[in-house]
């Protein structure tokens, strides 16, 4: 519902050097963050800096992603910030922009073999690692002996889902190998679809005869789907479930004891870092970054800002609210008021 006021730069279509920033977000369904948080924070930053901007969402469509990039270049952006849908199209867009003299930033996802000037992100493998560590912590707390762990991965077509999985695999695989944990069913959920996730998890439960002791689910939505099935079998709270994104729903599930943990990414900080860089390059300035990241495909060191994700358990749900990422109203309505109070949220 935000809008058109941002596109005040049409008259700049022809004129050359007025700084204008284009941002392409990837989709609106794999995670609530893009439209819910990133857009908001980026707009705030750009407005504060008084630059023109254009933020668009490719809605998960690669071809639309390229079209939007074409359109932004047509509209005269001087810096382009993208969250790629996959490295191929990402690279095509970055190269085209570069050939037209537009500066580029990889936001949140590194475009392999790409030509972006900067890279700003959370480390997605680190997210997965936190999930793996969180699950083993909760399993230890529950004191389950050689627990069976099921994987509810993200979309098979989403490269980030692969990165998350690499992360939690790096923690859990050694435990499977040492027979400390037993590996249960391992399935991807197409398009991060929660309804399909519920069916998939229900079938996992049937397949193993109910013997699943922990669920590594890739985000809060999938986690909630697993929890709904566990509830139906009256197993909620007994089987720890992980998540990601610190959504109000996930936080409520944590407060209720149905979910073990979620991963909170301080998107405000990420957006801040990225918008600072974008405003600078849009004006034709250069900036130093604290780190660099090696692009394994292009073999190039990309100047980067990397932020660290944070695991959230029942004890530190209040941190997320204190951060302003979600409001108390969103989490502590109705039956959750008491749980919030218990968790020290005021």
């Amino acid at each position: 519902a935000c809008g058109d006021e941002s596109g005040s730069g049409d008259q700049a279509g022809g004129s050359d050097k007025a700084p204008k920033i284009g941002v392409i977000l990837p989709d609106s369904k794999s995670s609530a963050r893009w439209e819910g948080a990133d857009r908001k924070f980026l707009e705030e930053a750009f407005k504060a800096a008084g630059v023109q901007y254009d933020i668009q969402n490719a809605l998960g469509d690669k071809s639309a992603f390229q079209t939007i990039a074409d359109q932004m270049i047509t509209n005269g952006v001087t810096a382009l910030m993208i969250v790629n849908l996959d490295s191929g199209t990402g690279k095509a867009v970055l190269d085209k922009a570069k050939s037209q003299g537009v500066a580029t930033i990889d936001y949140d996802r590194l475009t392999l073999g790409g030509s972006a000037t900067y890279y700003v992100s959370f480390d997605n493998e680190a997210v997965g690692k936190l999930q793996g560590e969180g699950l083993s912590k909760c399993l230890t707390d529950k004191g389950v002996k050689s627990p069976v762990v099921a994987y509810l991965n993200g979309s098979p077509t989403d490269n980030n889902a692969t990165l998350f999985k690499n992360g939690y695999d790096s923690v859990l695989k050694p435990k499977f190998d040492s027979k400390e944990y037993a590996k249960g069913p391992d399935q991807n959920v197409p398009e991060w679809d929660n309804a399909q996730a519920a069916t998939i998890f229900e079938q996992m439960l049937t397949q193993t005869g109910g013997k699943i002791d922990g669920v590594l689910s890739a985000n809060d939505g999938l986690g909630n789907a697993a929890i709904s099935v566990l509830k139906k079998n009256k197993l909620n709270g007994k089987v720890p479930v992980t998540g990601q994104d610190a959504t109000p729903q996930g936080l409520q599930n944590i407060l209720a004891g149905d979910q073990c943990m979620t991963v909170y990414k301080a998107i405000r900080e990420e957006a801040k870092a990225a918008s600072d860089l974008a405003i600078a390059v849009a004006k034709g300035e250069k900036k130093e970054t604290p780190q660099t990241v090696k692009d394994p495909e292009g073999g190039r060191d990309v100047p980067a800002v990397l932020l660290t994700p944070k695991p959230i358990y029942k004890e530190n749900v209040k941190d997320v609210i204190a951060d302003g990422f979600v409001t108390k109203d969103e989490v502590c309505g109705g039956a959750y008021a008491k749980l919030c109070a218990d968790a020290g949220i005021s």
């Binding site: 519902a1 609106s28 369904k29 995670s31 609530a32 963050r33 893009w34 439209e35 819910g36 857009r39 098979p156 069913p185 391992d186 399935q187 991807n188 197409p190 398009e191 991060w192 679809d193 929660n194 309804a195 399909q196 519920a198 069916t199 998939i200 229900e202 079938q203 996992m204 049937t206 397949q207 005869g209 109910g210 809060d220 939505g221 909630n224 789907a225 929890i227 709904s228 509830k231 139906k232 079998n233 009256k234 197993l235 007994k238 959504t247 109000p248 729903q249 409520q252 309505g333 109705g334 039956a335």
Partner: protein
């Protein structure tokens, strides 16, 4: 010839009533001639279930049987509504996301605004009716092809769900009653009671019909066949209720889990209701007529536009019901509710069940049988543990196999000229 003689020769005249034997012979030759009704879908189901049971013994457990119903419920409900649209030879691509919009309305009303569940359900269904009315209006009165109208709906409703979800967050549905729909069961006694009522009702209708026709001197099925039908229904319902009343908790100490899932009577009631509407009311007759030959229907004085609008209303309202069940099952609504494969599965369910995309042919029961096929495939594939690539491929192949059972059993029908 006297008038009486003419009458005796005439087509409706009383010939000796068919016997049980002649009835069975007739049925067999009808089947061999290709007039096979629900047989292929049932056959496909049996084949699928057998294969899955052999490959994964856990398929054949009471728990899995109960899961099947809740897993397939939303798609089946949407498919039931789609049957009406397909009967006119139209299509509704927006049914999936229409269910998403209705679910989003439900969640907003009950969770965000905090109204009681019945207000939310009402709001969802009213939304469905409104959506259907707009679609139907655009198709019937403006004259845009339904594919284009509902493709536009497919896009727009997706956006509306996102907007209702505040750009992507999930909304939880925690209301006890709403959650119960897809997650709780009837008490065993209530299950038996409902089954008994259903059988008794069916028996009453069948026997009454037999009596009326016999009294009028019209051709009737032999009474033995009528009793066989009633007995068959009793047997099927009895077996289903028996299995669903078995204990299926993983751990009886923690909790007991048994009884007929609440969605089952909901689907059953809607099935009976819509079947009644289609088969026993003028409205239903007119739907078939418009689907069979729009021009003939118009010439018969049927208000074709009204019928066209109405089927979209029914379709979207059933999508709303499907959306409510989906929201209940997931305990939440997300921007993908009603998205991904829901629509294609729902249309597929109707078509696999035997509904024609060209209009004029189909029953609500088709949607339920086809929905069962889709649910069994999904359920069985979930037990296999394939990687997602393989899973897609195998699902496609299995779907094809289930459909080819149908194609082969209909083969003869083309050969004998009934199409």
């Amino acid at each position: 010839m006297t008038t009486t003689v003419v009458h005796k020769d005439g087509p409706g005249a009383g010939t000796p009533p068919p016997t049980l034997g002649s009835h069975v012979r007739n049925y067999v030759s009808r089947v061999r001639g290709g007039d096979i009704g629900a047989l292929p879908a049932v056959l496909g189901l049996v084949v699928l279930c057998t294969v899955f049971s052999i490959m994964r013994p856990s398929f054949l457990t009471a728990g899995n049987f109960a899961n099947l119903f809740t897993q397939g419920a939303a798609v089946t409900l949407i498919a039931m509504g789609l049957v009406f649209v397909l009967l006119l030879g139209e299509i509704d691509l927006s049914a999936g996301f229409a269910s998403g919009v209705c679910a989003a309305v439900l969640a907003n009303v009950v969770t965000v605004l905090g109204y009681p569940w019945y207000v939310a359900v009402l709001a969802a269904i009213v939304t469905g009716v409104a959506i259907g009315t707009s679609l139907g209006f655009l198709v019937a009165k403006i004259g845009i092809p339904s594919f284009v109208v509902t493709l536009a709906g497919f896009l727009a409703f997706q956006g509306i769900v996102l907007m209702l979800m505040e750009e992507g967050t999930n909304i939880s549905v925690r209301d006890e009653v709403l959650v119960a729909i897809a997650n709780r069961n009837l008490s065993p006694v209530l299950g038996w009671l409902l089954a008994a009522v259903a059988v008794a009702g069916y028996a009453a209708v069948q026997l009454l019909r037999h009596r009326t026709r016999a009294a009028r001197g019209l051709v009737t099925d032999p009474i033995a066949v009528v009793f066989a039908r009633i007995g068959g229904l009793a047997l099927i319902l009895g077996a289903a209720v028996f299995i669903l009343n078995l204990e299926r908790s993983r751990n009886i100490v923690i909790s007991s889990l048994k009884g007929v899932p609440i969605v089952v009577p909901i689907i059953a009631v809607l099935l009976v209701f819509w079947t009644f509407v289609l088969q026993r009311t003028s409205y239903g007759r007119h739907v078939y007529a418009v689907g069979g030959n729009k021009e003939a229907a118009r010439r018969a004085g049927i208000d074709v536009d009204r019928i066209r609008i109405s089927v979209f209303v029914i379709c979207s309202s059933m999508a709303a019901v499907g959306g409510i069940v989906a929201a209940s099952r997931a305990n939440s609504v997300d921007p993908n509710t009603g998205g991904s494969n829901v629509l294609l599965y729902a249309v597929g369910a109707a078509v696999i069940g035997g509904t024609s995309l060209f209009g004029g042919k189909g029953r609500v029961l088709d949607a339920v049988l086809g929905g069962a096929v889709v649910a069994v495939i999904d359920n069985g594939m979930g037990l296999m543990g394939y990687s997602s690539g393989v899973k897609y491929v195998v699902t496609g192949v299995v779907l094809l196999l289930a459909a080819s059972v149908d194609a082969f059993s209909r083969r003869r029908s083309t050969a004998t000229g009934n199409r």
